[in-house]
Structures are given as structure tokens and as C-alpha cells.
Symmetry: D2
Subunit: 359 residues, 4 copies
């Protein structure tokens, strides 16, 4: 694994926990942890049980005793590492967003075509969102009219964090678009299908800042629905709120990451007097992942999304099934981000030049 | 009408509004307003269109041009006025609680047997509670196991209101029991049926105070369910919160007066994965009173409960149907309050000596 | 009053109720009710106490014994009636939206300049929204970054209502934009100040329909904030939900019409560990209109917004203060709607050609 | 560790995870897993990395290479194992409830006096409840008037689970009282202090069942407050809901396990117009355990309560501080349960014969 920050911890935790909750034919060994700061590296490796550490990712990705390269480094390192690793025949797992832009993403997707790969859009494994996806797939919403989503954080105004790499365009690509809007887009594509066109507003509230602080898209989906996709680091009052709301001819769904275990659903095919938005605790029975962790009614948290993603990847690997989201899926997110950026520059709608369909 | 305080306004408003929203064969004339303070009386009469005022209720209740006596005076005046009015052959409408105790209540119920009568337990006409009653009556809860209700206010700690008549036992009967627990009990009887036995805890937090500040009942219902019924004036944080929660073999209901237009319902006969507490906006279509006021989705408030109670009374009067809650129903509430007081004195369970079944 | 539909009832109710709750130097007489259907007219007049009825609004608006003309007729009648009434020197009260388009609205505003006038954007008198406005005015949000609002209904898909005048462009102007987005815009201007530019997406989900079923705006406000303003009749699951959400450097506000008495507020100047979105029951004490209706903790509903608007108008009239929203304010809404329509046609941002500042 | 069921997994997980999130001077080794079913034992040991397994707990608890005995076996095994282990000088960790009754609990507490010990009342380590405790300790509620708590499950009506050991009085002690009410009581003692007297209602809804399905206590606390403490397995609609609500002279707190990361707080010392129940996401900053797991805004779940309890125990062990809840604390819970049972038998209030004060 390359990277030892917040995401490095989340991945390390998943590597530990996956075998506790899932029956898998693989046993993960935590071989080698790469990073830039030797002292922190040693501490992280000690805490999380990595056998070795290294400051040199380039030789690491070619070691014959390594089967998987997991990238939890800043965004600008995704492409060089992923391409090198894929060329060395390694499986590649990459933090989101895939790349700095769609062109770079395309090179990565091309390079990775021959190896099993995954992008850590972990919110697809929130059980409540996976259940939302299931309900939509079963046709419980009917024809979809509206899709509305926002990922809202507030730390953008905190000047003490001005030096973070997420504010450097060369490292991060863009600001909140790369960081949070990418999640919003990935979830939207997964639940509501392809996006044809977008119109975007991007704002930087702090004048000297080189990346966007907020970005709002109007989106036209292929299924005829319209929506807004929003992300902000200036949504004061929201630490990490991420909402999805969608209305179809037969019902409505609502999700809020602040209540990560719940999904709200209204069934418009029932008699009108009994209709209401019901709050479903998506902790089982019969819910995604519910038989894997604890019991119905027992809350899961943030980290379980990484464990479940990893388990799904390994399960797909074992059985030869496709896994999503992979590099191709994440490339579509980059294409939409590129369209959004161009839309914001020109003040007009932009078509999404999809190279292929995300899943 | 006798009384010109807060409840006098609520009643006056109902007299004005009932014909705007309900088709009724009666036309209410606001003849005479009685009270104790001449200046306030004149002002209230002017605002609300009462033709005359009087300081003398005793001659008022015998006037031949008066058909209905409405009592919105303090609790100790309910019995003398109601009995005299009933004896004069008038219809009688009485604010809750019916009486200072069950013995007095029995005299009132006996006196009123020959005349149409009503007690203003107005919360029965909250559309969401009326719909809850309907769902229970339709068997949507199955066999009921639990009933839990509380009416919570916070003004008891406000020493500026120490002189209020509600703190004088001779005028109010008891404190929060007469004032708020009576509502809780009436709603419980109506929705969940007769109570067999109670065990009560009554508390007076302010030492010099002669009435109870809080009262909590354990209750055994005839249908085999158990419950807690609570009222407090020291529930800091709650201006006027009143909750009902009940679980049966086939579902659950929840109501909170702070969201007066909503009822929460869980249907346990559905597949478990789709079950959730649904929030129903009880503003139509097909809900109680929904075709009478505004449109589905348009909120009603506190005052509509009085208008709807009055309309139901007049509708029953026109068609010869029974109306509830009447004096007999309210008498049962008094009997349970008496049992609660005795239970609190003895520290043990007390049977409710029901003279008859409330409806 | 001209018009006898749903809004005619809401206005009639306000005329009755205003003197019950507000001390005013005026006494409203319900002189003359105009409409198109003689039988319905008679029934409405009887229910609501109108002295006369007429099918001929043109002579009505010039009667010397009439001081105020209140327009609750379909949108295409607003201009002819309002202009004629203003020219006859009458005060004019007009349902929203002001007009079919901004050009017509400008003629109306010009005509009405000499007479006291009001537009029934009643949601400004929701106590919780009035309190939101107050908190913003007091600077409790600091510099505003985001404003997000949506008015969502679901009846658009109901084919039984296809003949309604709201679906006829010649009568309604536009569809959901005229009907609901106008409310959203008025509230946004009032709470968050002028809008400089908009970019709009308008959708008609039912092919044969000539008006918009949904409209979403991206908006740039003069205060530097950005936002989305949305309205839909295809938001299945929402009978009449209207939400406002705004984030500033010092806090956050959230409102939902489904909980009409509540306002949510987060104070970001508090220590971070104690911060949370607090749910304020805006029923007093010290809240807008709280001393006028019932007591703290007692819910108000839809109709009270009309009563309070009327009271504010009459209070302003008595004291010579300005009243808002008036025709000039409502004209700005029309200008934004026009910009939205042109934006949707061209697929690009449009400046709002403000004739003046709304208040 | 002895026991391999649901709680065995929760404990095993904690043993793995504690070192990933907490800096501790101890390193836990998972030596020996005891149970009754050899095949399941082997599987559990393999999944969770236990070095050995055994069917014979009696010799296990005396092995010199074992420092800690962790008891996750059914309730009737707690006493024999704990006493033997304590006598062998081992540290003892015991699942709740401590014992079958208070007499047995007293023997256990006596035996364990010389060794560090812990009872897994894990809900004390829900960050939101730990923060509630902190606010109460800081005096943010003032004088407490009311405490109201309920732990509600629904599986009691599920006949397919009739054979579970939790329905056997000899194994479980009592039914829902031992299982869930014990949690409610422990949390109440911890947050609101000692209980002087209780009055209980216990119900068995299924006639042939030998344990209680629901139990409700009226409780008088030493601080002068009154409350209800309730537990049920027949609260249809609630998978694992556990609520706490308390009102004091200066504020109100509310918690619901269904929203495990949130605490609601109302500060009644603020101006009345701005007061409201605020929803605090207790995920940091400055919250209990917030610097240990993920970042502010990132949800924790059920399992983290065990990890945090274990970390606190080990931290206390390292520094010589007292740890709570220990056997003495859990004994007080048993004494209250005994008083409740006797109260239900006699239909009257019972004093709690506290051997000492819980903490």
C-alpha cells in the first residue's frame, strides 16, 4: 500500500477486518507500506501490522512477492503508480478520484485493462445506498423524474488547513470537485444511470485559493430525469453530510450520510392515505451486507464501507465476476468533471463525451 | 359562553369558523358572554362578536333565548354551572377536566343525562390522532402490547406564574394531573380502550406548592397491554409536547404534538426488509377532516381541533348520532385520576372503579 | 374580491379572522364577491358572508363604495383587473404570481404606483420564515455562501387534473415556474437579497403539455452566495414540501414547510463540540406573530400566513409605513422568471434585468 | 475467552481493534477460546485468530499463561467462571448482566475484589452517551427533574426463537429484565445517579413463557428526579431502539440508539426564542473517543463501544486509575433488578438495598 494518511488507515483497517466478516478464499498479507515520511511510516506500519516499509514506491510496485498495489497517495500520484503497477501485472486498487483529469484517467484505464482493478468509491458499499440501488433496480421508483444530491463539508473556511495538498491544483486536480463531487457523481451514475449533459457553477470563496470551494451541477440523465449534483467545503453546519433524494413515478428515496444506517422510502403505489416516507434501518434482515457484520438493529459506520468493497472485490476475483466501480467506471466520473469544468468556463451546457458506459 | 381566557378565545374562534368549513343545519349565534372582569369582558365580546356580556352566569344559564351553555371557566366552576344549565334543559359544553373529582363528575354526568353534552377533550380531533384511532379500529396494529404517552410542558418552574388558578387546589382540583394528564388519559381510553388498574407517582418539585407538578402512571389496559401515562410541567425543553406511541403484533404508531399534522406508522405485516416507521402527513386525501379545511399538504393547527369537535357535535345533533367525548366519557377520566391519586398515596396499584365504559 | 376558488377561500378566511387576532383601526366589510359561476358564487358568498355577488368585475372595480379590490382570479386576469382597479383609485391586493410575464408586470406596477398594494406571497408570513429573515438580518449567519430552496409537489402526474387552468399557458403564463418557483424566488430575494444571474433547466415530462412541470435554477446572488432554486410538480412523495437551506460563515438555517412551525438553526460561533442544528418551535415567545395567535407551543397552520399578511398590510396602511411584498417586489420575481425562461431556451446564464430592487 | 456467540464475536473484534486505534502499553494475545461446540469453536477461532480452543473452561481459567478471563457465555455461567477465575488471580471481564440475581452478584463482587475487573455494559462507551454524561457532570442540566429511558426490541414474538437460552429462567435469570433492562438501569445510574426506590410492572405476553417479555419501572432517584425505565421484546417496530431523555432546570438531553452518533441537547439558559433541541453529531472534535477513531463527521457503530470499553480498561490498568463499570457497579444493577422483581410480585414500591454506590 502506498500512502499513510487518513485513507491509508481506512484501507489498512479493511485489510484486517475483511476476513473477520467475510468468507473468502484469499488471505491478505500486509507486505509493504510506502510513504514519504520515514518516522510516520514506521509508526503506521507498527500499528497496523505492515511487515515492511519503504520510501521508494517505484521499486515496490515491481516486487515479485507483491500481487496487489493499493494507492492511497495524493491524487497526482495515482496515474504514475497505477500505470507502473498495472504494467508490472499487479492488481491495482486506487483511491478516488481516479486521476487529475479525464485524459490521464483514460491512460490509466487503458493500462489497467489487463489487471483486476478497483477504485475506492466506498459509498457504494453503504448498506443503505446499496439497498437504494436495489430498490431502483427492482423498479420500485418507476420512471425517474428527479435526482438531487449534495456532499457538504465545512472545513474550507478553516484557514489553519490552507497548506493541505487538497488546495494545490497540481496535486489535487481540482478542489471540492475532485474530492467530494466525484463521490456524488459516482453514486448518481450508479443509482440513476448515465448523464448526458451538465451545466456547472464553480465558486472559490477564498480569493487567493486556486481550487474550487463549491461546485453545483445541473444534470440531464439518459433516463429523462433532471437533477442537481452539489459539493461544497463551505456548507457551514455540515461536517460530512451527503444526501441523495430521488423521485420516480412510483416512489421516492432519500438518504443522508449523517444517518448512515437509514434509508427513507415512499411507495406511491400504496393507497394515498397511508403513504409516507418510511425510515428503514438498513441493518437487516435481508439487506446488503446485513448477514456479514452484526445483527439487525446494530449500527455500522464509515469503515465498513471499505471492508465491504474489499470483500466484494475479492469475491468477484474468486468467482470471475466483474467488479464495480473499476477504472472504467471512475473514468466516466472524470469525464463528467471535465465537462463540468468546461461548462463553468463557458457558462453553458456541455455534453459528456463518454468513452463508454459506467456501471 | 362562560369564561374569557385562553380557552374562551379558542371556543369563540370555533363558533366563528365552524360554518366556514362544515355544512351544518345549525347557525350559531354568539348571544352572551359571561365573566368576572367587566372591562376584559367588553373587549373580548367586541373582538369576537358576542352580542351581550354579563357578570351573572346564574341568570344567564336560565335565559329562554339560550340553547347552549359553553363552560370555559376554571375547573371549580364546571360543576355548578353545568348542573344548573342541564337542569334548565340547556345543552352543555364543558372544558376539560370535567370536574374536581369523580364524585362531582358523577353528579354532573347524572344531571346532564337528559341533554346533549360535550367535553372539550379537543385532541381527539387532531386529524393525525383521529387517523391513528381509525387504524387501530381497523385492526392495523393487531393485538396491542404497549401504549406510551406523555404530555410535557415546562412552565411549572416559572415563578412569575405562581398565582395562576391552576396552582390552587380548590380551583383546579389537582395540578398537572387535572390539566394535562386528563388529556393523556382521555386519548388513551379512546385509542387503546379501558384501563383496569393504575399505579401512580406524583411529584411536587416546588415545596410550597399544593398541587402536583408531575404525575406518571403505570397502566394495565383491558386489552392486555401495559403502558405509561405521564404529564409534567417540569419537562424543560418542551413547550407543549404530547406524544403517543403504541406497539401491537402487527405494527406501531407514533405521534408527537410538535408535529401536529403527522402520524408515524410501521406496518409489521410487510416484508421485514422494507419495514420502517413512515411519516404520514395527515392532511388528506382520505384522512379525517381533510376534505373540510384546506388541501392535502396544507398544515392545520391547534385551533382546528376545536372547530372539528364542534362540527362533529353539531353533526351528531342533527342526525341523532351519539357524540363523544361526553360527560360520561370524561367521568371515566376522573375515575382514573382518582385512582391515580389514591395509588400515589398508598404506593400500590389501584383498580379503576368504572361506573361504565368510556367511548 | 374577485375569484372564488381555493385562494378565494383563503382570502375570505383572512378577512374574517384578522380582527380576531390583531388590533387594527380598520374594519373590513365583505362587500362584493365576483366570479364566473353564479351558483358557486352564491354558495361561497353564503358561507363566507359576502354581502353581494356579481358576474361583472369591470363595473365592480369602479363602485364608489369599494375601497379595496382583491384579486384571486387566474393569472391572466391579474393585469386587466389590477390596472383597472388602480386607475379607479382602489387599493389592490393580488394573488401571486403578479403577471404572465415581466412586461405585463411592469405595466401593473406602474399603474399601481399611486395606490397601496400587496401581492399575496404569503409564505413571507410563515412565522418560522419571518424568524429566519430576522436572524439573517441580525447577522447571525455572517457572510452567506449557499442558498438552496425547493418547492415540491406531486400532482403533475395526475392525469385527472389535465384540464386545470394551471396547465394552460395563456391563462397561467407558465406551469410550475409561475405557480411554485415564483414563491421560491420571492422568499430567496427576501431572505438572501438580489439575484444577479440565473441559469435554468425547465422540463415538461408529459409530452403534450404546454407548460413546464419542473424548473431548476442555478442562481448567483449579489451577496456572493450561490444557490439552487427548484420547483416541481413531479416530486412524487411530496404533497407540498417547500424547503430553504442556507449556510453562512457563522451558521446555518433550514426550513421545511412540512414542519411549518419549526426553524432549524446552527450557530457556528459556539464551541464546536456543542454545535448542532437546533429545532426551534417558532410559536413564541418573542417570535414573529407569536403574541397574536395562541400560546407558545401551539401550532399554527397554512391559513395564518394570509391573516398575518393582511394584518401587516393594514398596520402599514394605518401608520404610513411601507408594505412588502408589493407590486414592485413581485415584478422582480417576474423579471427573474423571464430570465430563467430565456436561459432555458439558450442554454446559458442570463443576467436579471432588474428595474429596481425588491425588498 | 469463554463463549463464541454474538458477544464472543464482539469481544474478539475488540481485542483485534483496540491496538489500531489506541496507544496502549499492553499487547493482547488471543490465547484460548472456550466453548461447547467443537466445530463452531474451531471456525470461530480460525476467523478471529485464537491460538487454541478448548471445551474445558475449568482448567482454562487456571492456566498460568493466561492473565485475563473474558466471559461471553450465557448468564448462568457468569458466576462459576468469574469466581473461579478471580480466585485464580486472573483479571475478569464479564458480559452483562453480572449474575442471575443480586445474591450471586454479591459473591462475584466479593470474589473479584482483588483483581481488576470489568462488566461489558458497553453502552457507556457510545460517544454520544459519554458526552451526555459529561454535560450532566458539568452541570449543564442543572437540577434534574425527569429521566426516561427505554430499550425496545421486537423479536420476542418470533416463535422460531422460542428455544433460545434467553427464554430459560435457569440460564438467563429473567427475560428482558436481565437482557435489556439491565442496560437501561446501568446507564441511568451512571448518568443520573443512585436509585432509591422502584415500582415495577412485569409482563409475559406469551402464556407458556417462563421469563418476562416486558418490564417497566417507576424510579425515584436520590437527586430528587423521577423516571420510567422500560424494556421490552414486544415493541414491534423497534429492532434495537434504546432511548434516554432527561429534563433538568437548565436543559434537556435526548438520545436514541437508532441514531447512535447523535445527541440532542437543549440549553434552557439561552434566550427563549433561540432555544431548540439541537442535534449534535458526537463524532468530534472534542468529543469522547473522537480523536481515536476516524474524523469528525464519520460515523461509528455498535462495535466501537466494545473497543472503547476495552481501551479504557487497559488505560486505567496502566495508570492505576479506577475503571467503571466493574463488578461492584454491576451488582447495584442486580440489586435494582431484584427490587423490581419483588415490587412486581407485591404490587408496591420497593427500596433498593444498595450495598454500595455504583459509579
Amino acid at each position: 500500500m502506498i500512502g499513510q494518511g487518513f485513507m491509508g488507515r481506512a484501507h489498512s483497517n479493511a485489510f484486517h477486518q475483511v476476513s473477520h466478516f467475510f468468507d473468502l478464499p484469499f488471505r491478505l498479507e500486509r507486505k509493504l507500506l510506502c510513504g514519504r515520511n520515514e518516522r510516520e511510516l514506521a509508526a503506521t506500519a507498527d500499528t497496523w501490522g505492515w511487515a515492511e516499509t519503504s520510501l521508494d514506491w517505484e521499486s515496490a510496485v515491481e516486487r515479485p512477492d507483491i500481487d496487489v498495489v493499493d494507492i492511497a497517495a495524493p491524487n497526482d500520484m495515482h496515474a504514475p503508480i497505477a500505470i507502473r503497477a498495472a504494467e508490472a501485472g499487479k492488481m491495482v486498487w486506487c483511491e478516488k478520484p481516479l486521476s487529475l483529469d479525464a485524459r490521464e484517467g483514460l491512460r490509466m484505464a487503458d493500462a489497467a485493462r489487463g489487471v483486476p482493478n478497483m477504485v475506492w468509491y466506498n459509498y457504494r458499499r453503504v448498506p443503505a445506498l446499496a439497498y437504494a440501488k436495489q430498490l431502483v433496480s427492482e423498479g420500485r421508483l418507476g420512471r425517474v423524474y428527479h435526482y438531487r444530491a449534495a456532499h457538504l463539508q465545512q472545513w474550507g473556511a478553516d484557514t489553519s488547513r490552507a497548506g493541505a495538498w487538497r488546495f494545490q491544483p497540481g496535486v489535487a486536480g481540482s478542489g471540492v470537485s475532485a474530492d467530494l463531487l466525484s463521490h456524488v457523481i459516482d453514486t448518481a451514475l450508479w443509482i440513476n444511470g448515465p448523464i448526458r449533459e451538465v451545466c456547472a457553477e464553480r465558486v472559490t470563496f477564498v480569493p487567493e485559493r486556486a481550487v474550487d470551494d463549491a461546485c453545483i451541477l445541473l444534470a440531464r440523465f439518459e433516463n429523462g430525469s433532471v437533477g442537481t449534483l452539489e459539493a461544497s467545503r463551505f456548507a457551514v453546519g455540515c461536517r460530512n453530510r451527503s444526501t441523495v433524494e430521488t423521485h420516480g413515478s412510483q416512489g421516492m428515496l432519500r438518504f443522508d450520510l449523517d444517518a448512515i444506517n437509514d434509508l427513507e422510502f415512499l411507495d406511491a403505489t400504496e393507497p394515498p392515505e397511508i403513504q409516507g416516507l418510511r425510515r428503514i434501518s438498513v441493518t437487516g434482515p435481508n439487506h446488503p451486507y446485513a448477514d456479514r457484520f452484526w445483527r439487525p438493529g446494530h449500527a455500522l459506520g464509515f469503515e465498513h464501507t471499505f471492508i465491504a468493497a474489499l470483500a466484494d472485490f475479492l469475491g468477484a476475483l474468486a468467482t470471475g465476476r466483474d467488479f464495480h466501480p473499476n477504472f472504467d467506471d471512475a473514468l466516466v466520473v472524470q469525464q463528467i468533471l471535465d465537462a463540468a469544468i468546461r461548462s463553468a468556463e463557458t457558462g453553458s451546457w456541455r455534453a459528456v463525451s463518454a468513452s463508454g458506459a459506467a456501471q
